[in-house]
Symmetry: C2
Subunit: 195 residues, 2 copies
């Protein structure tokens, strides 16, 4: 497994930024920022726990999506994943979330993409591809979620990028690019093929 580095934010936050609020999901940081004309103003940025997404590849070549229901949210087609808990490394999170949400374990994890999608939020998202899947127990999701498993083919997966309910913009962009560019599509098809 490659060493996983945390992706950088598009907006720099200095080391000495001060935490001015600690919430249950979000913390708020502030610092004095010098502007181009030399004057100063207070800049603000949010921190939240990093999250991990897993794209599980079944041995028959299908991808294992989930249909998720969360309180106060419309049901949406998603992927297993969730937040990195205190003391966990991102690969441990990937393993735990895959197991909790699908009852599968993967023998191989490939890091497909890692980025900070929102410049004003200090928040990294890691997208793994999980291969060599093995079913281990019955689904035991987070109390705040209801999941149904929804296996789809690679070509169906590319089409799902379009739909309003698919909630992973960063993944959607990569899938649309793959649809546009045949070379990228074949590269991706290979990456998403079973072990």
């Amino acid at each position: 497994m490659q060493k996983i580095e945390r992706p950088k934010s598009k907006q720099f936050m200095p080391e000495d930024a001060k935490r001015v609020f600690k919430g249950v999901v979000f913390d708020v940081y502030q610092w004095d920022q010098e502007l181009f004309d030399g004057s100063k103003t207070t800049f603000e940025k949010i921190k939240r726990a990093d999250t991990v997404v897993v794209i599980p590849i079944l041995d028959d070549g299908r991808l294992l999506l989930t249909e998720q229901e969360q309180p106060g949210k419309e049901p949406f087609v998603g992927l297993p994943g969730g937040r990195v808990e205190e003391g966990e490394d991102v690969l441990e999170t990937a393993r735990r979330e895959l197991l909790e949400e699908t009852s599968y374990e993967a023998s191989e994890y490939i890091l497909w993409e890692a980025q900070q999608p929102v410049s004003k939020i200090d928040w990294a998202v890691y997208i793994f591809i999980g291969k060599g899947l093995r079913k281990v127990n019955s689904v035991n999701p987070d109390k705040g979620e209801r999941n149904l498993l929804k296996p789809v083919t690679f070509d169906e997966f590319l089409d799902i990028a379009y739909t309003k309910e698919f909630d992973y913009t960063e993944v959607a962009i990569k899938l649309l690019e793959a649809k546009l560019n045949p070379a990228k599509r074949e590269e991706l098809r290979k990456l998403f093929s079973p072990k």
Copy 2:
């Protein structure tokens, strides 16, 4: 001009959610959320000022992008726009930001898209197309920004969706869809043509 409704968030926040922090950019709200098993937990959501983006169409058919530099951020190819100030309606924001960042006024604004891109942030983004442009004075940007104007053709604009520095994911997805689908592309070309 059509009446502009504020788009709904993908994640519901009750009316009586309590503001627990007020920052310079972000406010934090909390509420008790009942889970599927009947137990309760604290949910948290961020509020920030809505923002407006303008896609200005020059009379020669080119689109007026900007190359922006903001303190603590890599320079990026962007579009005029900014946050809705207290008491302003979104169309006023569009007019003000277009003028401040490009020195142009538009005689017509078409709302192309309005959405809340991040489910855990109460934050709406309105994307306008501005036509009938007229130069009115020299650029007088926000002290926190430096802008260069960068006119591009419609086809160049579609290609910019790919680049890492283009910071509008929601726009990028629509441009990629237009590249994929010739009917959508021609529809968009027409929408983006001068008055």
